[in-house]
């Protein structure tokens, strides 16, 4: 079944409230810190982008609803830091009790260096790391089954086929829908596998175009369309 992050097509969210285009990039200082800590923690190499998306998505539904955007990021990050053994729960409890104050003392109580400390992203490495990014395309032994113009259908039921309740990038609103291949993007890491430590499992990725009439009971316009990027294993021929 779906999770709350899978909200495409949902009713009831009210109007979009655009803020001025010159509004600050970060509405609050802590938003900027949360983003930067998330990026630098990722540089420790203990998880990938799919793992981190899944960590946010599997917040309890009540928390996913009430947390703000960067609160979700922080909650996901704390989950990963503990699950991957980077920090212990005791570390977090002590940090909260300290309220963010630097530890005082003689230095005698400072523990041995953390085994991952050598990987910490240094300020002078930031520009290169951001410029390098993290491409998701990989060579694959799986050949493309489809070509632009081919009719396809999103497999039903949706959801992760490797791990029950696991991460997937097929939105529920497109499950079972019929569309047409628009373009082949090459072979990309399969999130359903990579999010769960099951390997990158690269396979062909396509842009698939769906008529709005195929997705919604009351589309706004007969010629409107939605395009999704979908992996080959999400699709079947029509």
């Amino acid at each position: 079944m779906s999770r709350l992050h899978d909200m495409g097509g949902r009713f009831g969210d009210g109007p979009v409230k655009p803020e001025p285009q010159d509004a600050p990039v970060f509405a609050e200082d802590w938003h900027a810190r949360a983003l930067a800590i998330t990026l630098t923690s990722g540089a420790l190499g203990q998880w990938n982008i799919d793992t981190s998306r899944h960590a946010r998505e599997r917040l309890a539904p009540l928390d996913y609803t009430r947390f703000s955007y960067y609160e979700k990021w922080l909650a996901g990050l704390v989950t990963l830091l503990v699950e991957k053994g980077v920090l212990s729960r005791a570390d977090l409890v002590a940090a909260e009790a300290g309220g963010g104050r630097q530890k005082e003392g003689t230095g005698a109580e400072v523990a041995a260096p953390h085994p991952l400390a050598a990987r910490a992203l240094q300020a002078q490495e930031v520009a290169a790391a951001l410029a390098r990014g993290g491409p998701a395309d990989r060579p694959s032994t799986i050949m493309p089954n489809f070509a632009p113009g081919d009719a396809v259908r999103c497999r039903r039921p949706g959801g992760n086929r490797l791990v029950a309740g696991g991460h997937t990038r097929l939105p529920t609103y497109a499950v079972g829908a019929k569309g047409q291949i628009l373009r082949l993007h090459g072979s990309h890491v399969l999130p359903d596998s990579a999010a769960h430590g099951l390997g990158e499992a690269p396979e062909p990725l396509y842009a698939v175009v769906f008529p709005a009439m195929e997705l919604w009971s009351a589309p706004e316009h007969p010629r409107d369309e939605v395009v999704l990027d979908l992996w080959q294993s999400y699709l079947e021929p029509v």
């Binding site: 899978d6 909200m7 495409g8 097509g9 009713f11 969210d13 979009v16 409230k17 655009p18 803020e19 285009q21 509004a23 990039v25 970060f26 509405a27 802590w30 900027a32 983003l35 930067a36 800590i37 630098t40 923690s41 946010r56 955007y69 990050l77 704390v78 980077v86 002590a94 940090a95 309220g99 963010g100 530890k103 910490a120 240094q122 300020a123 490495e125 930031v126 951001l130 410029a131 990014g133 993290g134 491409p135 395309d137 990038r169 939105p171 993007h185 990309h188 842009a207 175009v209 997705l215 316009h221 010629r223 409107d224 369309e225 939605v226 395009v227 999704l228 990027d229 979908l230 992996w231």
Partner: protein, 186 residues
């Protein structure tokens, strides 16, 4: 968990360099933002060969301008025409072309935009003050993979003869997401 507490414990363990945090924040606050995308759009409006190359295979073209990197590793540029208007969303999270547009605005990450942009794009556009002609269809791009989309808006009437810099000044961030239409101020 408070941000400051988390930053402190990670710093004490040597896992993050606070100066690296400052560097990341400065990058996205002051150096990488929609001005990058606007320069690309203005160039495409001015140079047909550049535009053709950009639409055919954006990555090498953008990399040549230095606009490559995190959350912009696989770029596709989609062109608005009188027949078709393009609009970008990420219904599952907040995927967005960082090297060209920077960090997404709050509304792009909001539940209302994520849930509604795919189902009722025209009502959403109206909330941005954009009303499309009846003859224009809407194509909404839901960024479900690591491919990032940039909308190439139509060059506005009255912009003939303007320099690339003057054209870039007409290109709003939202017009490159598809929720605004560039215009020449009267």
């Amino acid at each position: 968990m408070r941000v400051k507490a988390l930053e402190t414990v990670l710093t004490q363990k040597g896992l993050i360099d606070p100066a690296a945090l400052d560097e990341i924040i400065d990058t996205y606050q002051n150096r990488i933002g929609p001005a990058n995308g606007a320069r690309v759009v203005a160039r495409a409006w001015s140079d047909p060969e550049f535009k053709a190359a950009l639409l055919a295979d954006a990555d090498p073209v953008l990399a040549g301008l230095g606009y490559y990197g995190r959350q912009g590793e696989h770029m596709v540029v989609v062109e608005n025409t009188p027949e078709q208007h393009n609009m970008v969303v990420c219904t599952l999270c907040s995927c967005y072309p960082w090297p060209l547009l920077g960090i997404p605005p709050g509304w792009y990450k909001s539940d209302a935009y994520r849930s509604r942009a795919v189902r009722e794009p025209r009502r959403v556009l109206a909330e941005f003050g954009v009303i499309l002609p009846e003859g224009t269809s809407v194509r909404v791009w839901d960024s479900t993979a690591e491919v990032r989309y940039l909308v190439l808006p139509m060059r506005p009437k009255g912009s003939e003869g303007l320099s690339e810099d003057a054209l870039a000044a007409l290109v709003s961030r939202d017009s490159m997401i598809g929720t605004d239409i560039p215009e020449v101020p009267r």
